[in-house]
């Protein structure tokens, strides 16, 4: 089959790889109908995430049709079922899964020993990601093997296009969790850094959850225009001071809820501290560029909440923990507990409360995926979200 394969920094290729097969009786194989490139895939593309190996198949936003089912998964899945695959692999049986903490499933990471050493305790296995999270082949491919498939799936109805459902795999529940874990009150101002795909979903989630005011921060006009369309007040950090503007919009008190939808690759030349971080990254003295975290800690209203869906990879420098502690801020973060949210979110899509396909700007055949990684990373061609279609020929630009 064809798949997008990681070969090193900025080097992804569309290649032929062996077809997946059932390896465990809880497995299923799906034929991929749609998959997408996620912002966190870019951290792998840029090789800021440790634990990648040449030959790894990319992708963790995938949906398709079940074509083969292991014997132990037959009670939950049958051939022909239409499914979205959550990016977190879950056993559904461990203590964490039973509590709904699916992204820290205790059994799905097949490299548990490695994760125990690096993180202290293992987290869930993830598709198409670092070997710290199992190194499972991903879904930017024609077929995908789904481990623990009896639990790791979201059944979706026929009659709704892939484009409206695909993002249940990651960015929609990720944006939703980012807003939900802020426990938004009707009087709250929610500030969201980053208007990429997760940021856009977070804006819509904060609006649905009833924030008084949603403020979105970015520098790219096309992303800010999409944020504004979703009901946000926008701040272009290249044109105005984020701290001054946020204080102005909140009577000098700062936003109650701050959400980091940027993560470890803050715009490298966007601020003095990011330039400092970039230089340290080049010298391997720091792994991440935490400009947004610093700014959130500084501007957040005392006793407020910081929510961090943005991905961080390793060791961070110059974090103002003194301000964090003295202001009594609550920090909530983590990979998304996808299946905790998806029943509710699927209903919202079916009921036409939200149509997540608004974020798609490019639809391309799988074979053009490597080029689209570059386009997405370099923010060319107005690119915000790329959907890839295995077996397709034509391209469709927004």
């Amino acid at each position: 089959m064809k798949a997008l394969v990681w070969h090193g920094t900025s080097d992804i290729r569309c290649e032929s790889v062996p077809d997946p097969r059932i390896e465990n009786d809880r497995d299923a194989i799906i034929k991929v109908t749609s998959c997408a490139i996620c912002g966190s895939d870019l951290h792998l593309f840029d090789h800021f995430m440790p634990g990648m190996k040449s030959g790894d198949v990319m992708g963790h936003e995938t949906m398709g049709e079940v074509v083969e089912v292991g014997s132990a998964a037959k009670g939950s899945l049958k051939i022909g079922d239409r499914v979205v695959i959550p990016f977190t692999i879950i056993c559904g049986e461990c203590e964490q899964c039973k509590r709904g903490n699916f992204s820290v499933c205790e059994r799905s990471n097949r490299n548990k020993d490695l994760a125990d050493k690096v993180f202290g305790h293992t987290t869930a296995g993830l598709f198409g990601y670092t070997h710290l999270t199992g190194g499972y082949p991903g879904g930017q491919a024609e077929y995908l093997r789904v481990p623990f498939a009896d639990a790791t799936h979201i059944k979706v109805p026929d009659g709704i296009p892939d484009e409206k459902l695909l993002f249940l795999s990651d960015i929609f529940p990720t944006g939703w969790q980012a807003a939900a874990q802020c426990e938004i009150q009707p009087t709250d101002t929610v500030a969201i850094w980053g208007c990429g795909p997760v940021g856009q979903m977070t804006i819509r989630s904060a609006v649905l959850l009833g924030a008084r005011q949603v403020i979105a921060i970015d520098r790219l006009p096309e992303r800010l225009s999409m944020a504004k369309a979703g009901g946000a007040i926008t701040i272009n950090f290249e044109e105005e001071s984020v701290v001054e503007r946020l204080n102005e919009l909140t009577g000098g008190k700062g936003p109650e809820k701050c959400i980091d939808a940027v993560g470890l690759e803050a715009h490298a030349t966007g601020s003095i501290d990011s330039m400092y971080d970039r230089a340290k990254q080049a010298m391997m003295l720091e792994t991440d560029r935490p400009h947004v975290l610093r700014e959130m800690i500084y501007v957040c209203r005392p006793a407020g909440v910081l929510s961090i869906p943005g991905v961080y990879g390793g060791l961070l420098d110059k974090l103002p923990v003194g301000a964090l502690m003295n202001k009594g801020l609550t920090v909530r973060t983590g990979q998304t507990h996808v299946n905790r949210w998806t029943d509710d979110l699927l209903n919202r899509v079916v009921e036409n409360q939200i149509d997540p396909s608004f974020v798609i700007t490019h639809t391309e055949p799988l074979e053009r995926g490597p080029e689209m990684y570059k386009t997405f990373r370099d923010k060319q061609d107005g690119c915000i979200k790329v959907v890839l279609k295995p077996g397709a020929n034509g391209a469709n630009h927004a």
């Binding site: 900025s10 856009q200 649905l208 959850l209 096309e222 999409m226 979703g230 009901g231 061609d381 391209a395």
Partner: protein, 163 residues
């Protein structure tokens, strides 16, 4: 919207031949820079130019900075053009050796020929990178009609809280 997606030289790959060439030039730049910083006298003797050790050291710093920038940047093109400018400075500096009577005129000519060759490679690489981008970095698209709320933003506000 007309596609501005860059067409890389190798379809199905994220890296073009020019990307790989740029990376090689980055490593070459750092290696040359280190040599210029560490052994400026030996280098100047070899190419038949004397008395320019401080300048060669400065050029070494320039080469290292350019090389790191090429390797660290998603867009190495401006840094490859910076190398071209550096190449021209190198040529002008080495050319002063032609006026010196040190018996190493052949070495000086060979160094100038090598520099000219590297300059051509740099220019080919920078031009190729520019052509792949189609001359534009970012298209401004208008997504102001993409609310994501089929029933409108006002209807969406607090809808999940009401439920």
């Amino acid at each position: 919207m007309h596609s501005l997606v860059p067409q890389t030289a190798l379809r199905g790959r994220s890296q073009s031949a020019n990307d790989k060439l740029a990376k090689s030039l980055g490593y070459f730049s750092i290696a040359l820079g280190v040599t210029e910083l560490v052994a400026p006298r030996a280098l100047s003797n070899a190419i038949g130019v004397k008395g320019l050790e401080p300048i060669i050291r400065t050029y070494g710093g320039r080469e290292i900075a350019t090389g790191v920038a090429i390797l660290a940047s998603h867009n190495p093109e401006p840094w490859i053009w910076a190398r071209v400018a550096g190449d021209l400075a190198d040529i002008a500096t080495v050319a002063t050796g032609l006026k010196q009577s040190n018996g190493k005129a052949n070495n000086t000519v060979a160094a100038l020929a090598a520099l000219a060759g590297v300059t051509v490679v740099d220019m080919v690489c920078a031009s190729g990178l520019n052509a792949e981008k189609g001359g534009r970095r970012t298209a401004v698209a208008d997504y102001s009609n993409r609310s994501g709320f089929p029933q409108g933003v006002q209807a969406a506000r607090g809808a999940a809280r009401k439920a």
